[in-house]
């Protein structure tokens, strides 16, 4: 494990107990994410990607191997982690502002006065384009706006690690691209270390420094790709020839993971 890595998985294996005996989902997964780094994890459906988020968040314990956050093995949930899911899970009975402030009611020792906390929340909401929506209820917001508020909530307690489990999966294509840009801005400005689980290869390439492809269950890291994009990114970058090539390579890797890559002639059918 290198010195500056914030998230490190060392040979992590996990199985779920079922009636037909243990079902192995992860089999010796290892990777590291450096300080302020962004790693996207892609793979076939049901390959254990979400299990990975629960292990890093400390909601599950690995059967074998270690998960290390900020240099210490994870044994239980930690307040230095922020999470966002596909479902924005905003609390309907709270205003947007009070939803964003929720983690500060759980995490202690942040030393913020009520005023300072509200200012920070307002700052985050402004950053994602939700200024002026502080007092609205979640039901008054569109899906994309709710997801933006959910990102603010995940960041309000200034976590060192942000875990994103398909947060843009339920949004329409244009809203999704908007949110990618907002997410990219957030990661740069907040300097948070991110792990993103996604099904969307373009999303993984647009946001991440490194993309990991997991094999089918029980999952191993099958392929690693470093994204040749810098700290300034535009959606148009996704149409550059070398990026299109990267996307094609990722897609081929997914097909291998699904066990469908038996020759060039089947590529069309697999789509």
């Amino acid at each position: 494990m290198s010195d500056q890595s914030v998230i490190a998985l060392e040979n992590v294996s996990h199985a779920y107990p079922t009636d037909a005996g243990p079902l192995p989902v992860l089999d010796g997964v290892s990777f590291e994410i450096a300080q302020s780094g962004f790693t996207a994890v892609v793979g076939p459906s049901g390959c254990g990607k979400s299990t990975l988020t629960k292990l890093v968040a400390g909601l599950l314990k690995p059967d074998a191997g270690r998960v290390i956050l900020d240099g210490k093995p994870v044994v239980s949930p930690r307040p230095t982690v922020g999470m966002a899911f596909q479902n924005p899970v905003l609390l309907e009975w709270r205003s947007i502002l009070r939803n964003v402030l929720l983690p500060l009611e759980i995490v202690h020792g942040h030393g913020l006065s009520r005023r300072e906390a509200e200012d920070r929340a307002a700052g985050l909401l402004d950053l994602v384009g939700l200024a002026g929506f502080e007092d609205k209820r979640p039901s008054e917001l569109s899906g994309g706006m709710r997801q933006r508020a959910s990102l603010c909530r995940a960041l309000i307690h200034q976590p060192s690690v942000l875990i994103l489990d398909e947060p843009f999966g339920a949004l329409d294509a244009f809203t999704r691209e908007d949110l990618w840009q907002i997410m990219f801005k957030l990661r740069i400005e907040q300097g948070v270390t991110c792990m993103l689980i996604t099904h969307d290869l373009r999303e993984s390439v647009f946001l991440a420094d490194e993309v990991l492809v997991l094999s089918d269950r029980p999952a191993q890291v099958q392929h690693r790709m470093t994204v040749p994009l810098g700290r300034e990114r535009e959606i148009e970058d996704l149409y550059r020839p070398e990026i299109v090539e990267n996307l094609a390579e990722l897609r081929r890797q997914i097909q291998i993971a699904q066990g469908r890559d038996r020759g060039e002639d089947q590529q069309g059918e697999a789509a």
């Binding site: 909601l59 999470m83 899911f85 929720l102």
Partner: protein, 259 residues
């Protein structure tokens, strides 16, 4: 008149008009069939009963009301506690459901003599106990369903920050269950009245509107009996709307704006 005022007026006026229309139809039905008042009293017969016995209506109505409300309060406490236990533990759910369903299936009229023998002379206790027994079931079921259908992401969002089970319950599970809880409470309100009156009528102890009904029956004062029914309906409506007000305060967020 702004839209808010007109909505308020509509909310009060519409139910009132429907009640008046109902009373007129009732009056017309009795007049058209030419029923004598020992068969079916008409609303106009009842005014006599109300003006003659209004003091008794106030006294007995109050006795019925406070015992029903006390029974309901116990229902809410016990029902919520049972619901929490069943909502959080599958073992408890498996263990308690058949017992609760069986208990709820027993006609409560048959239980009245049993509790009357258990607590001889403790009329208030008996009445409150019955109001509770007949009304806690929907509350327990709704709380338990509300809790065990909580999506895991809601729990994870707080658990990932190191929140305790109690914090998750207090901040998320409990408020999220409130709409279901109030739905059940509306059912429980009317059930609790049935419980109170069962005891008042089956085990006469000279208290409550049930007793007034009973004395109307003994004296063949049919308009009085109908007047009691109307008074009970009025109390039921009163308590129901009290719950509606509480629901608006505590779970108003669940209401979608009219479209």
């Amino acid at each position: 008149m702004n839209p808010q005022q007109s909505r308020l007026i509509r909310q009060i006026l519409v139910p009132l008009v429907s009640i008046v229309v109902f009373l007129i139809l009732w009056e017309l039905l009795v007049w058209w069939r030419d029923w004598p008042n020992y068969k079916m009293a008409s609303p106009s017969d009842l005014t006599g009963a109300f003006s003659k016995y209004w003091k008794l209506f106030l006294l007995y109505g109050w006795q019925t009301l406070w015992r029903t409300v006390l029974g309901l309060v116990i229902s809410i406490l016990v029902g919520t506690l049972l619901g929490m236990i069943m909502g959080f533990s599958k073992v408890a759910r498996d263990a308690l459901y058949p017992l609760l369903v069986g208990f709820n299936a027993v006609p409560k009229a048959t239980v009245v003599p049993v509790i009357a023998l258990l607590f001889i002379g403790a009329d208030n206790t008996n009445t409150v106990l019955m109001a509770f027994m007949i009304s806690f079931f929907p509350i327990a079921v709704s709380v338990s369903v509300g809790l065990n259908t909580l999506e895991t992401e809601y729990r994870d969002i707080l658990r990932a920050l190191g929140a305790s089970r109690f914090t998750v319950f207090w901040k998320i599970a409990l408020p999220k269950t409130l709409p279901e809880f109030f739905g059940a409470l509306k059912v429980a309100v009317t059930l609790a009245f049935i419980g109170t009156n069962l005891v008042e009528i089956i085990e006469p102890h000279g208290m409550g509107l049930g007793h007034l009904f009973d004395s109307g029956k003994i004296n063949a004062d049919y308009p009085l009996m109908f007047a009691v029914l109307l008074a009970l309906a009025f109390l039921g409506i009163l308590l129901f709307y009290a719950v509606v007000v509480l629901e608006k305060i505590f779970a108003g967020w669940a209401e979608r704006p009219e479209t």
